[in-house]
């Protein structure tokens, strides 16, 4: 068993200290760097909280769409190649898979950019 609080919780509280205690005392030319650090910490925290499940789901969906087995990176390479060749032009299933997996990456990397309907998810 790992210690509590875990990595994600540590990042969250460390970020609080950065933004609430350190940032107000920083000279103006260091504010941007501090904000970038806070942003990086929150991306890392969200990735930790999401865990590996979204990647497993994405791989499962790729297996169904492409009708073959394989690792996540390999299946994404195949999907990309088939899209380029025109094999999925206008294809709704392919588009939906891409939408779901991209939405998950936006949740982790830039939740402020989520469409309003997905923001609570």
């Amino acid at each position: 068993m790992r210690e509590q609080p875990d990595g994600a919780a540590l990042l969250a509280i460390a970020r609080e200290v950065l933004l609430r205690e350190l940032l107000p005392g920083l000279p103006e030319d260091k504010v941007y760097a501090a904000r970038m650090i806070a942003n990086a910490m929150s991306i890392a925290e969200r990735q930790l909280r999401a865990g590996e499940e979204p990647q497993r789901e994405e791989r499962g969906a790729l297996v169904v769409l492409l009708q073959r087995e394989g690792g996540l990176a390999e299946l994404n390479h195949e999907l990309a190649a088939r899209i380029r060749q025109g094999g999925f032009d206008g294809n709704r299933e392919a588009w939906s898979l891409l939408w779901d997996s991209t939405l998950q990456r936006v949740r982790e990397s830039a939740p402020k950019a989520l469409p309003a309907s997905d923001r609570m998810g």
Partner: protein, 340 residues
């Protein structure tokens, strides 16, 4: 950072020759922040004698000491600035070009423009730029003046004339980057495939800026003072600049102000039509807004890779890679459903 003494002296002598002055004294030289590829120095010089007599404030732009330049070199950028200036585009007045014999690397000097360029500030601080619809109209007019420059043009002969249509040239560039990249980006690939299938013909090439967006022009309290960053300029479809300017990803969060996060499309079109006589077809511009998201995603991946590869560890570059998912989501949104 301060300038080395021998560079200072070499520069004073260069400036006094070019300014036809008796003497030029550099009273201040400071390195401006930003620019991994170029260095920008803000110079304050006291000029005695000649047509520039008085205090001259200017910016010296050189290759960075360690920079590997993938964009235009300084002499080319100077030529672009000069043509844009001649065409009546509001740019920092290009003054003089210097070769490697002065500072050890090529540079040019342009007159300093007043104000601020920071995109996040510009979209929120309405004390800048004067009336926003008038400003947006003005930017449309600026683009139209630029787009009046057509090939062939001797001074810009270093710009390649694309064999493919500019849209398909972009598609090929994006694909060849992704082919050399370690990770697949199928959503981006979807967007690029859409761009390939819907690529417009470009009946006439014009000089385009290719980075004309909020964040790359300067404003003071009254209005526009300068359009900056000419290093990506190329012969292309005029609508590429309009699509880049209006693309959702360049509105700095002010999504309802569809022209650059600062104004309306109507105002932009008004300014463009006033100078060019051309009415903008927004459906045609929309193609270039999709293109803008793909192009920015590719650039963001390239910047992120500078960090990921270990060549250039940088938090800013690392975070740029995390812009890619939202650009892909917008690409999917623009090219799915009935638009597929």
């Amino acid at each position: 950072m301060t300038m080395r003494e021998e560079h200072r002296r070499a520069l004073e002598s260069f400036l006094s020759t070019k300014a036809e002055a008796r003497e030029v004294r550099l009273v201040d030289a400071r390195l401006l922040s930003g620019g991994a590829i170029q260095e920008n120095w803000l110079l304050t010089a006291v000029v005695s004698g000649g047509p520039h007599e008085g205090v001259l404030e200017c910016v010296l732009r050189s290759d960075a000491a360690s920079g590997v330049s993938v964009s235009h070199d300084r002499a080319q950028e100077f030529a672009l600035l000069r043509e844009a200036f001649r065409a009546g585009v509001t740019v920092p007045e290009p003054l003089w070009l210097g070769d490697g014999s002065v500072l050890g690397r090529a540079f040019f000097v342009m007159r300093k423009a007043r104000g601020t360029a920071a995109g996040h500030r510009i979209v929120k601080d309405l004390g800048l730029g004067g009336d926003r619809e008038a400003l947006t109209e003005r930017l449309g007019a600026e683009l139209a003046r630029l787009h009046a420059i057509r090939p062939p043009m001797e001074a810009l002969s270093f710009l390649p004339v694309p064999a493919l249509s500019p849209a398909l040239r972009g598609v090929k560039e994006f694909q060849s980057f992704l082919d050399g990249h370690h990770t697949a980006f199928p959503a981006l690939e979807w967007g690029i495939r859409w761009l390939e299938r819907h690529a417009p013909r470009t009946p006439e090439l014009v000089l385009t800026h290719r980075d004309f967006r909020t964040g790359n022009y300067m404003l003071d309290e009254a209005g526009l003072t300068a359009v900056l960053d000419w290093e990506f300029a190329a012969w292309s479809d005029p609508l590429e600049d309009l699509g880049w300017f209006c693309a959702r990803c360049w509105r700095f969060g002010q999504f309802d102000k569809e022209a650059g996060g600062i104004g309306s499309r109507e105002a932009l079109a008004r300014g463009y039509a006033r100078v060019s006589g051309r009415t903008l077809d927004w459906e045609a511009v929309r193609y270039w807004e999709v293109f803008a998201h793909a192009r920015w995603a590719v650039i963001a991946l390239q910047q992120g890779e500078r960090h990921v590869s270990g060549r250039e560890p940088s938090l800013e570059l690392a975070l740029t890679a995390h812009v890619v998912p939202e650009l892909e989501l917008e690409l999917l949104s623009m090219t799915g459903g009935r638009n597929a």
